[in-house]
Structures are given as structure tokens and as C-alpha cells.
Amino acid sequence: MTRMSWFNTVSLTLGFAFLYIPIVILVIYSFNESKLVTVWAGFSTKWYGELLRNDAFLNAAWVTIKVAVVSSTFATVLGTMAAYVMVRGGRFFGRTLFSGMIYAPLVMPEVITGLSLLLLFIGIGLDRGVLTIILAHTTFSMCYVSVVVSSRLVTFDRSIEEAALDLGCTPSEAFRLVTLPIIAPAVISGWLLAFTLSLDDLVIASFTSGPAATTLPIKIFSAVRLGVSPEINALSTIMIAIVATGVITTSLISKRQVVRQRREEQEAERS
């Protein structure tokens, strides 16, 4: 590979600077002593301490995590089922409608999804709270899971499933013993995607939550509307740190696995 041209180097440098400088500034100012976010008054971790003593935030964080864990688990089960039906189900009544309902939430503006779910919950007299947020999040994130899982299923060699049937598996045994272990990485990344979507969601949660249940994004949004605050910076830093650690670790692990597998394949062919 030849060295990169100056143009490419400049666009990469500027591009990544644009992507990361705002985040870096946000993190730096979370350690600012001053209440005024724009004035640097020395290093301090006091806002992290404040945050830990703020019950409202801690409660909201707890609700958010509960909602995210439950809804992403449901979404993974339903999304995997939907993906399997779409890729392997053959023909059934209303297949076009089904695939439309799987893809539509991906492009639907959040305000509309939120509004429509709220109208449903009021229409059937369901009190808004943790349950309604979970139902809403499960619905839109199952579609993302189904896209991730079905893209894996499409590249899956169908004869592997047939081999399991041929060797005496019932269809459900074949799914449990062969298909599921092989598509597991896609199912896991589907879960992670559903989890972060749920953690992140403001608009749909605002429509479907009640006074009894407030999620962290709703809390942050109402705080931020009043202006910048170092406490929010601290909270953001913690969230960014968690996500970055998670993403970097998983990508390093999967990269190592790919490298190892390729090396072993080469060794096998040489012997």
C-alpha cells in the first residue's frame, strides 16, 4: 500500500476531530470545579459526587436499566422469531404485511411511533408506567433485532440445518442444537443494539411514560432544556465511558477470534 495522499490524511484528521472534539470537551468540563460550564476553575470530581447523591437521577437510571434489560430481552426473542419466519418461513397468509410491519418502524419518525402507542395505551385504559415503556421499546427494537439476525440467517448454509434433520433431529432440536449456536453472535449483537436503543430513547419514552416512571433520557432532557450543567456532563461522561468500554472490548474480542480462526484455517490447509 502506498502512503496516503495529503488530501486523504487531512480529511481523515478533520473528520475524526469533528466527531470526537465535542465529546472530549464534554468530558473535560465534567471535571471542572466551577458551576459555570464555560469557565475553567480547576480540576475536581465534585460533580460526580453530587450525581451520586442525586436520588432523582439514580431512580431514573434504575428505571432505565430495568426497562432496557427487559425490553431488549423480549425484543431479541421476538425479533429472532420474526427473522426466522422471514428467512425460513416460506409462504404464509399476510407475509407482505408482516415484512412491512417489520421494516416500517425502522423508518417511522419516533414522534409518530410514540404518539400512536400513547393513543393505544389510553384507548385500552392501560396506566402509563414502566410496563408501557417496555411494550413500546420491545416493539421498535424487535425490528432492529430482526434485521440484524436475518442478515446472518441469509448467509447461513441451509444444508447445515438439513444435515441436523438428516441425522435425526426434530425441527426444534435442529434449531436449538445447530441454528441457534451458529447465529448466536448475531443474536447477541441484536440484544446489545436493542439495549442501547432503549437506553438512548427519549421521544418514545416521553410519550409512553407516566408520572410514576421517568427514564434517564427524559430526566436529562428536562435538565438540559434549562441549560448546560456540570452534573449532566458528569453523567454523560459515565455513560460514554461505559459504552466505549463495551464497544471497544467486544470489537477487540471479535477481531481476535477472526484472526485466530484465519490462522488456524491456514495451518490446516498447509498440513
Binding site: Y84, L119, V243
Partner: protein, 293 residues
């Protein structure tokens, strides 16, 4: 039997929590406002049957939308902001995607991850990060004042400029990734062939690279344009009172004015606006899939 449940459960779930709510939006869009909870008078009663429903159906809320120029302006302004910010994202994203595709192959996975990483971090936080930068006493103004480029702080926060910056920033990964994947597949010997046949570097870029990355450009543009049109968080945090975007109008109609029928009618129109780009986007994706096979 197993197959029946496999199809049935996700199917019913989506019908109950996606299709029916959506039908309710339509229904309420055709209802009258009332001071009650829920604040609307239902127009549709199953007992009365379809005929009565059709007789009662009125487009009052839609007529209201056409009469009040707030909504017109909001739709037009949303479209304008979406188109313009999609163009900006393309102009900024293309060189980055191009440079990534031309980077040494051992760097590419890392660069990929650096582009995807912001996508996993909270959208809200990434928008919030700009509030501290763009405000009158923000980092940007402090920096510009310090360098002496300006003598008075620029007003950026709570203007449309801030909205553009916010959109470009948050949606940039959606533009970069499809273009990058199109450019990475591009065989470099095609450019060598073009140069061999007498193209200059720049004309080879225009005649070979751009056409062959077209599907990526189209996919990326729609991935930015479609969610931008209904965007709520960015205009409400970075935009000012004069920033009109339809997502924000819908939100305010719903939470502040509590006019659910009008909010529903706004939603229906927004969706109609989205149908064309969504269909075009689907067609582009299909074409790309066919080309790959």
C-alpha cells in the same frame, strides 16, 4: 403447530402494537377536539358500522392544517432543513469515507470502529455536547475571541445554524458507512484502467469513482434525510423559537396545546411526506442487493 406459533406471536405483537395504534392515529386525526381526558371525541364506534363512520368522517383537522400557515411553514422548513443538512452531511462525509477506503487495510477496522462508536453513544448526549460549545459564552466563541477573529460573540446556539451543525454531527456516521462500503468494494484497477485510457486523476474520480459509489451515496442520503425530517431533539435543544420543524410542532401540539386530533393530523401528513423517500430508498437497496448477487 410449532411453525404456527413462530409466525403467530411476532405477527400478533406487531399488529397489536404497531398496526392498531397507527390506525388509531388515523382515526383520531378525523375526530373533533374536546376538553376531556382523553381530549378528543371519538368518531368511530364499531356498533354504528362502517357506513355511519364514513358519513361522519370529516377532514376538519386537515382543513385546519391548510388554513393555519404555521403548519405549512413547518412542513416547508422541515423539508428545507432536511435537504440542506443532507447535502452538507454528504459533502463532509464523502471525503472521510473516501479517505477511509484508501487507508492501509490494517487501519480500516479501527477507523470503522471510530465511526461506529459515536453511534452507540447516546444521541441526546451528543446533541447536548454542542450546547456547551455553541453558546454565547461557549468554547467556540471563547476561542474565536481569543484569536481575535471576532470582537463580539457570535450568536449560534438557538439558530438554524446550530440545528444544521447538530444534524450533520449526529447523522454523519449514517452517511459515511454506506459510502465507505461502496468505495471499499471498488476495484482500484478500475481507476488505473481509466487513467491508462487517458483520464486525469480528477476525471477518473468523476467518471469512475462517483458513479460506482452512487448506491452508497443514495443510501447514505436517505438514511440522513428520512430521520431528519421528523427530528425533534435537535431543533428543540439547539434550535431557537423561530426554528420550525414538524417533529417539534407535533410535540408541542400534543404536550403543550393538548390538541390530540391536530397532532394526529400533523403525524399523518408527515408520514405522507415520508412515503416517497422511503419507497425510493427501498428500491435503491433492492437494486444494490440484486447487483451483489
Amino acid at each position: 403447530m410449532q411453525r404456527f406459533f413462530l409466525v403467530f406471536i411476532p405477527y400478533i405483537w406487531l399488529v397489536a402494537l404497531f398496526l392498531i395504534p397507527f390506525a388509531m392515529v388515523l382515526k383520531i386525526a378525523l375526530s373533533d377536539i374536546a376538553i376531556a381526558i382523553p381530549p378528543y371525541v371519538p368518531k368511530f364506534d364499531w356498533a354504528e358500522g362502517i357506513r355511519a363512520f364514513l358519513a361522519q368522517l370529516d377532514l376538519e383537522n386537515f382543513i385546519w392544517l391548510t388554513q393555519d400557515d404555521l403548519y405549512w411553514k413547518a412542513y416547508i422548513s422541515s423539508l428545507r432543513i432536511a435537504v440542506f443538512s443532507t447535502l452538507c452531511t454528504l459533502l463532509i462525509g464523502y471525503p472521510i469515507a473516501y479517505a477511509m477506503a484508501r487507508a492501509p487495510s490494517e487501519w480500516r477496522p479501527t477507523l470503522m470502529m471510530l465511526v461506529i462508536l459515536p453511534f452507540w453513544t447516546s444521541f441526546l448526549i451528543r446533541v447536548y455536547a454542542w450546547m456547551g460549545i455553541l453558546s454565547n459564552e461557549g468554547i467556540l466563541n471563547q476561542f474565536l475571541l481569543w484569536t481575535g477573529v471576532i470582537s463580539d460573540p457570535l450568536v449560534i446556539l438557538n439558530t438554524n445554524t446550530a440545528v444544521y451543525i447538530g444534524i450533520v454531527y449526529t447523522y454523519l456516521p449514517f452517511m459515511i458507512l454506506p459510502i465507505y462500503s461502496a468505495l471499499e468494494r471498488l476495484d482500484t484497477s478500475l481507476i488505473e484502467a481509466a487513467e491508462d485510457l487517458g483520464c486525469s486523476r480528477i476525471s477518473a474520480f468523476w467518471l469512475v469513482t462517483i458513479p460506482l459509489s452512487k448506491t452508497g451515496i443514495i443510501a447514505g442520503s436517505f438514511l440522513v434525510f428520512i430521520p431528519t425530517l421528523g427530528e425533534f431533539v435537535i431543533p428543540s435543544l439547539l434550535g431557537g423559537s423561530d426554528t420550525l420543524m414538524i417533529g417539534k410542532v407535533l410535540w408541542e401540539e400534543f404536550f403543550s396545546n393538548r390538541d390530540w386530533p391536530v397532532a394526529s393530523a400533523v403525524a399523518v401528513i408527515l408520514l405522507l411526506l415520508l412515503v416517497v423517500p422511503i419507497v425510493l430508498f427501498q428500491r435503491n437497496q433492492q437494486k444494490q442487493q440484486e447487483a451483489e448477487q
